[in-house]
């Protein structure tokens, strides 16, 4: 289980939002919804790495173990940021493979091709990422986050750059993998339509 107990974030001594508490079972997704500038993205970033001037308070435990104050959840998580943040010197395939660096095995290329097919980018592994459209680049970023099957998926408005048809396809692929892997998903969004359908939880932040 992933438990957030009275978790809040302070920037330069200023609390950004009211403390949040929730418990996620494997395969569940928590949607954090709230106005712009509230600190939702800052919370996700603080779960990955320490940042100067940003303090995280409260208790976060993953399967009974408290979060390491230094490495945070970086070893167990992958993130889709608001921008694709691809590396311009690597091909589409190499950008995705990079996220599987710690995983042993020679099947990385197979996994890359399978994810690209699922996200409608089949045959683009050798392409220059900066020749893709912004929506395609965003899908590569999603594939990069899904590739290593990490236990936690942090989603920082991953669908905002996509058209409505692709949006549904990508959303379905992300939530499907979280459920199949028994992973934990934390989704930050402004848009109620980005939330997963079904019994997942929503936290309205203030």
């Amino acid at each position: 289980m992933l438990i957030f107990d009275e978790v809040a974030v302070e920037r330069s001594g200023q609390r950004l939002f009211q403390p949040v508490s929730f418990t996620l079972e494997p395969g569940e997704i928590m949607t954090l919804q709230g106005e712009s500038g509230l600190g939702k993205s800052t919370l996700l970033h603080a779960l990955i790495a320490q940042e100067p001037g940003v303090e995280i308070s409260g208790q976060i435990t993953l399967d009974g173990s408290p979060m390491d104050p230094v490495t945070r959840l970086s070893a167990e998580s992958q993130t889709v940021f608001q921008e694709p943040l691809l590396f311009p010197h690597l091909s589409v395939g190499a950008n995705i493979e990079l996220s599987m660096y710690r995983l042993p095995g020679a099947s990385h290329r197979v996994r890359v091709n399978q994810l690209l097919n699922d996200l409608g980018l089949g045959g683009m592994a050798a392409q220059d990422p900066f020749q893709l459209s912004r929506g395609q680049m965003m899908r590569v970023a999603v594939a990069r986050a899904l590739a290593p099957h990490h236990r936690i998926l942090l989603l920082d408005e991953p669908l905002s750059a996509l058209d409505s048809e692709t949006r549904e396809q990508v959303k379905h692929r992300i939530f499907e993998q979280i459920r199949e892997d028994g992973a934990y998903g934390i989704l930050v969004t402004h848009h109620p339509e980005d939330r997963p359908q079904g019994g997942d939880m929503v936290c309205l932040m203030r």
């Binding site: 943040l85 220059d128 912004r134």
Partner: protein
Amino acid sequence: MERALFWEGSVNWIERFFVLILILPVIGLLDEAYGRYSGVSWIQGLTRLWSEPALIESLILSVWVASVSLVISLFIARAISAKTLQVNDSQLWRSVLLAIPHSALAIGLLLALSAGGVGWRWISVIFELPLDQQYLFPRDPWGIGMIVSLVIKESAFLIAIAIPITKRLPLRSYQVIARQAGLTQIQCHHQLIWPQAIRLMWPAIFVVFVFGLTNLEVSLILGPDQPQLIGVRLFQLLTDPDALNRQAGALGLLIMLVGLAVVSGVFHRSVRARVKDRLSDAMAFTHGATVLRWALIAAFWLSIVSLLMWSVTMRWSVFEPLPHVSLNALTSLKTLASPFWVSLSIGLATGVIAIVLAVCILEYLVSKGQKRLHWVWWAFLWLPALPMASGLLAWIYFFGGSPGLWPVVLGHTLIALPYVMIVMSDSWFDRDRRHDMFLKQAGLPVGRRILLIWVPRHSRLLVLAFALAFAVSCALYTQTILLGGGRVETLMTELMVTVSGERRLAALTGLANLLLPLIAFALALWVNRLSWSHRAGMQGEGYADFR
């Protein structure tokens, strides 16, 4: 909110280490000044220093040359930066401007404007003046030759610093405000943009003043018939076999350092605190700056033409405007083979060491959340080359070492590293932190992150910085002559030797010294472009994270 050129907060252990490197040469000088080698008290050293003839005159001339060349350079930098704010590839131009080999250009200028020089022959023909008379440089009491030579380098340096600084300001908003107030684009630059840039630029302005005050090369190139600057006088004392003279030289340098510390305080206060209560007449300045700009460009090209013409001259009668040229004149190139290879080796070693150190240091600073370069790196440029090199030499002797190739590489690296750090730091500090978050999540160790991601990603910047370090190394004289004990022959030291000899060889050496850094730049850019021709995001400055 002003974003200053450097950070003035607390220093970390790397910066402390480099402060130590900066202080060590001064301690070495103190040791020498106190009389370790002469065996007499510092008062006797001081008496010896005062007994030097015309020392005060040299000091006054040096201050005059440094101040006038600084004012003219600022004037030109203001005019040119107003025209070049729209430059797209600022990193390329910044690096090329920082790498201008002023000594080679000074030789060209000397060969152009001295008696029998290219320019002088042409001017004499036009104005029907006697060709065999010397009017310009001999016993130049106002240091005009030195001022012109220094302005070429200093204005380029100030423009290189001014462009990125002005680009940090909200230029578009200022231009809208200016247009609404009825100001032209040039007036907007002079009234609204430049006064802010100059407040942020004071560290660079001080570097230029120090460079002008303590410059050795230009004064040596322009010849012994010139009144000598204070740097040359102290250099002669410091390299004298007599220990008392060396002690006097060390004392002179220490007095100069104290003086510069006082001047730096004045610079800091007067430039940063300056608030104007009325607008200046921008147009009057603009016309003056335009004249100066064209004069500078003319001097630059005259210098290049002069180097080229003298390099291939077989015979040139003093009464003829053009020489008899032959490529046979290039046979003298053979004599430059050895200094060429030494320059190349030292330049490559300096470039590689400076880049490796800069990448490691910047990576560490980014990981600690630092956003800007600390003033310590600028301090390396504030410390004149002479005390730095002679202090380092004192330490090399103290540890039982002797001057040679590696001390020269060390000296060159300590000067090239701050330049490299200044050029690279903005891109390193401005990178998106989320990239680091992703790499941390992917589990890449720090070494792999640097080699697989940051080095290839910033490859264009790195090759430009490498070429800059190489060019800086090619242009260093004081460090080479002192730390090499006079035994390490580079193109730059050869330039100093040949300048008082045959003109053809001097021009060839100057040309080689000018071309070597330019070839390094061209090669570096070509190799990088070729390597990334298949990656759209790596073209240009290569910083786009998304389209």
